[in-house]
Amino acid sequence: MGAKRILETSFRIAWKDLKELSRNKLGLLMLILMPLLMMAMVGFIYPSGSSIDMSNLKVQVVNLDTGFMDMSVSGDFASAVNQINSASVNLAFSDGTTLDVLVDSIQRGEIDAGIVIPENFTYCVLNKQQANITIISDTSNPQVSQQVSGVLANIIESMSKQVAQSNLAAQLNITSAQAASYMAPYNVSSQGVVEGSSSYFDFIAPGLMMMTVMMSVMTGLPGAITHEREIGTLDGVMVAPINRLSIILGKTLAQLTRGLMQGLIILILATALFGVTIHGNILLVIGLLLLGVFSFVGLGVALTSLAKDQESASMMLMAIMFPMMFLSGIFFPVKMMPGFMQTISSFLPLTYASDALRKVMVLGSGIPQIATSLAILIVFGIVMLAIAVPLFRRMMTR
């Protein structure tokens, strides 16, 4: 009756559970559907920075320029802007008529933004004055508005620079590179720790995997135990001369397998469909997923022991899981949250688990770089189990 027998019995119980699952069509469907839904939701509802489809955004160019001394340079300007646009972001450009029409179209939601060339454009250009280009955007949709005005401002800025650069070169009789260094003596370029750029998906995929695996175990474990208690089969297991620890262990093992399968589905989808790459060690990724689950098992077992039936168990779980999902920095960086939320966040194991996993997957960190998170997860797991196991024993002989 040593540790070997406990393990043997645990495997037996896990194997039985998995066999049941493999014959449960609905259960299998849910197993595959859950991660798919998660990915779909995050992938298509929260678009990443570069993946907003710009060609869907409509921009109207309103040229109010009245010319100066029978000359007009605004037409050249507009076509140059258009050229840069079609070579880069490719917004849907169209010609407008008046400012009122533009505002009306934005209000109707037919147009996302407008570029207004002022009446005195040619005058300013020819008389060595700054010409004011106005960008009007649909501020009812701040994210889109920000993106579009940013992009448009960039286009105009870069045009502005080009013109200035060639003007300066001509005036001072120098090369255009020299002119550039006069205009902007310092140039900035940024890059990450690993090669290539990371998208919102690289940010979100690790947290999503961690969350799915944890949720799977957290909902699966109390579900499995209370279900067996309700249909009565748990009694059959408990009248056998086995250590009750192996019941928890076996059930956890089965749920863990289920959770890891879901995590793997997410990983495959993320790499195949959304171009996420793993920069760290894949074994470390799996190890972290396991550790994440370990840190949570105690909580799951404790809830199971306290809940009267399946329904109240899952209610209690939801009450814990739901806020955790949003406060652990899976969808939104913890560092950008208000102070008190950051405090709450620092008490949630999911915060550390998903952060560590992100560092490994995105930054290629090894164990030394994530040691603090690892330690916190291990301690949390042990403390929770120390609370949960006695509760579980008590529940079994209620």
Partner: protein, 334 residues
């Protein structure tokens, strides 16, 4: 073999099992008989180490059920109220799983499973998922599951509940055979008089968590029908509710139950009881078709002890038009 002393179980403020004591000898079939909610299952759950007693002690084969629970579990086979089988596993997989939990060596377990399946004629279904079985087949599975470890003591909680009469007979015969051939000590709980009467060497009648009588079926009946008391079956062709009420008011009449459209089962006391009843029926213009002096059943015993019917709520409501309903088996609540 089993000794129970002042065993008590309290749920919150409610005392489900109230200070009961009894002993069961080796090789005996012992019955706990009582209405729903009497505390039979709770008693068995405590003895099975599934529920912790609030008070009192019990030993099985000399082992304390709380302090020595693992040893006790090795001696036990438990058939509880709810069936302990996994529907998505086959018959064989189910038995294999539970056999492994008992640590039975592989070779031996193989043989044992084949033997048991054969014993209850399920060999040809051994690779079918149990979910496809009929209730009778499931119950046979459920019983042999409890026998995997060759238990010295077998607990059966309402083993015939929800079974058709044919399956009930099979299960009863199986239990009897097991007891005779292997000498297994058995405790069976039931609210069916027939089970208790046919199977048990001794019966404890349980009501509201207390044992109110404990003896063999024969002795219990003897005690009920004393020199002065008898049970009669009275046939009245134009029986009606009013007549029943009037008969009940007679001082010599104890319990009255209606059995069929024209028959009454009456417990009577005193010398001139027959005269009194016949007079009463006559004044009500009743037409007596038959009078029979009956042997008492356990039902009468319970009625005598508690003034209530065992299958209280359901069958005491039986009136003239629902006769056929009364004979239907209670559905197993699953």
């Amino acid at each position: 073999m089993i000794e129970v002393k002042n065993l008590t179980k309290v749920f919150g403020k409610f005392t489900a099992v109230d200070n009961i004591s009894f002993t069961v000898k080796k090789g005996e079939i012992f019955g706990l008989l009582g209405p729903n909610g009497a505390g039979k299952s709770t008693t068995l759950r405590m003895l099975s180490t599934l529920a912790r007693p609030t008070g009192g002690v019990a030993t099985i084969g000399g082992c304390d059920i709380v302090k020595n629970d693992t040893k006790v579990r090795n001696l036990l086979g438990v058939v509880s109220e709810k069936m302990i089988i996994y529907e998505r596993l086959t018959a064989k997989e189910n038995l294999w799983f539970f056999g492994c939990l008992f640590g039975i060596p592989k070779e031996k377990l193989h043989k044992r499973i084949d033997e048991l399946l054969d014993l209850v004629n399920l060999t040809q279904f051994k690779d079918k998922q149990v979910g496809t079985f009929s209730t009778g087949m499931r119950q046979r599975m459920n019983v042999i599951r409890a026998l995997l470890n060759e238990p010295q003591v077998l607990f059966l909680d309402e083993p015939t509940l929800g079974l058709d009469p044919q399956s009930s007979v099979e299960i009863r015969e199986f239990i009897k055979k097991l007891n005779q051939e292997k000498g297994t000590t058995i405790i069976i709980t039931t609210h069916m008089m027939l089970d208790a009467d046919l199977l048990c060497d001794r019966i404890a009648i349980v009501d509201h968590g207390k044992i109110i009588a404990l003896d063999s079926s024969v002795n219990l009946k003897k005690a009920t029908v004393g020199a002065n008391t008898s049970i009669i079956n009275l046939g009245i062709t134009n029986l009606n509710l009013d007549m029943i009420e009037k008969i009940k008011t007679l001082p010599c009449v104890g319990a009255v139950t209606q059995e069929g459209e024209t028959k009454l089962r009456i417990t009577v006391h005193g010398e001139d009881a027959f005269d009194q009843i016949i007079d009463q029926v006559r004044t009500l213009n009743g037409k007596i078709s038959s009078i029979e002096n009956l042997q008492p059943t356990l039902e009468d015993v319970f009625l005598h002890m508690t003034g209530r019917n065992v299958r209280d709520s359901v069958e005491s409501k039986v009136l003239v038009h629902t006769r056929r309903m009364a004979k239907m088996p209670v559905q197993r609540g699953r």
